[in-house]
Chain length 152, copies 2
DNA sequence: TATTGTTATACTCTATAACTATA
DNA sequence: TATAGTTATAGAGTATAACAATA
């Protein structure tokens, strides 16, 4: 990008929300293509990742972790069940309708993860491992700071 | 957030795309409510901000800066024109249909900016000014790193 | 021929409200 | 009464392709 317009441009480009959006957009581009080549949306993939990390999980936990609204999750559950990637799991609280990864779900998670990790490491190698660790720390702190203000 | 599940949880929560998404979601919450109270969507607001920074701009420049697809921009132009916030501007290249902020557009930009800046400073005061500057730098570097890989 | 932008289309996501079932 | 989740619905965004006008 050229920077001929100088300061005026900078004030917009350095705004926090747009910076987060553009960084995300740039870093997601390759992940997105990769995941979509498996006929999964990014949101579906986030749900699969979260479940690979911890299963079973209910709608509410997944909604928080994946930043997906409950109605969207209902649809995603239906889709992933139809694909045989997740299945219902009974829990003590019978209001909850928790789900867990199926064997097929675990398999596709592993399959997609291979290239996904490679893409990540490629970005990290250009960005710098130290920078990456620092960025992830700052993002977590930012989230806490922003959450604490919105509670008032 | 509790961290009882430890390492397994961490691997998902520390993933770059989800970290960017959650940080953005948390830091945007209050901006969003504020902007929407003026009957503007966040995308419309991004266009207004970009035009307040530099006018006139064509569809392509705005698409890059605001991370909005061209067809969405066409619709946003129509909406903002109907609201009297932007107007068409003729340029040398007659393919371009550049737009600029109207007087009303400048006024609403200033009006919204007051509280928007206050929200920003509130978040910054909790997050730390040094952290904020560091984060913005890292986000820019990340974007460059990710862009350079996707060009291959 | 390539580029800028609009329109058409199909799909997905957001966000709210109304509802069911369970606690 | 409160909570977990589904369904319905309206609006907005994503993404691609087809198109018009201009370079």
């Amino acid at each position: 990008m050229d920077d001929t317009s100088g300061k005026r441009l900078r004030s917009f480009q350095r705004a926090l929300p747009i910076s987060l959006l553009r960084a995300r957009e740039a870093s997601m581009r390759r992940f997105k293509k990769h995941v979509e080549s498996y006929d999964l949306t990014l949101q579906q993939w986030r749900v699969i990742r979260a479940l690979a990390d911890e299963s079973p999980l209910g709608s509410k936990a997944l909604s928080d972790r994946c930043v997906i609204m409950a109605p969207s999750l209902s649809r995603i559950f239906r889709t992933l069940k139809n694909k045989g990637l997740i299945h219902a799991v009974k829990t003590d609280d019978r209001r909850e309708r928790s789900v867990a990864l199926s064997d097929n779900g675990h398999q596709i998670f592993k399959e997609i993860s291979v290239k996904s990790e490679a893409i990540y490491r490629d970005i990290e190698s250009r960005f710098g491992a130290k920078n990456m660790a620092e960025l992830l720390d700052l993002l977590e702190q930012l989230r806490e700071a922003a959450d604490s203000t919105s509670e008032t």
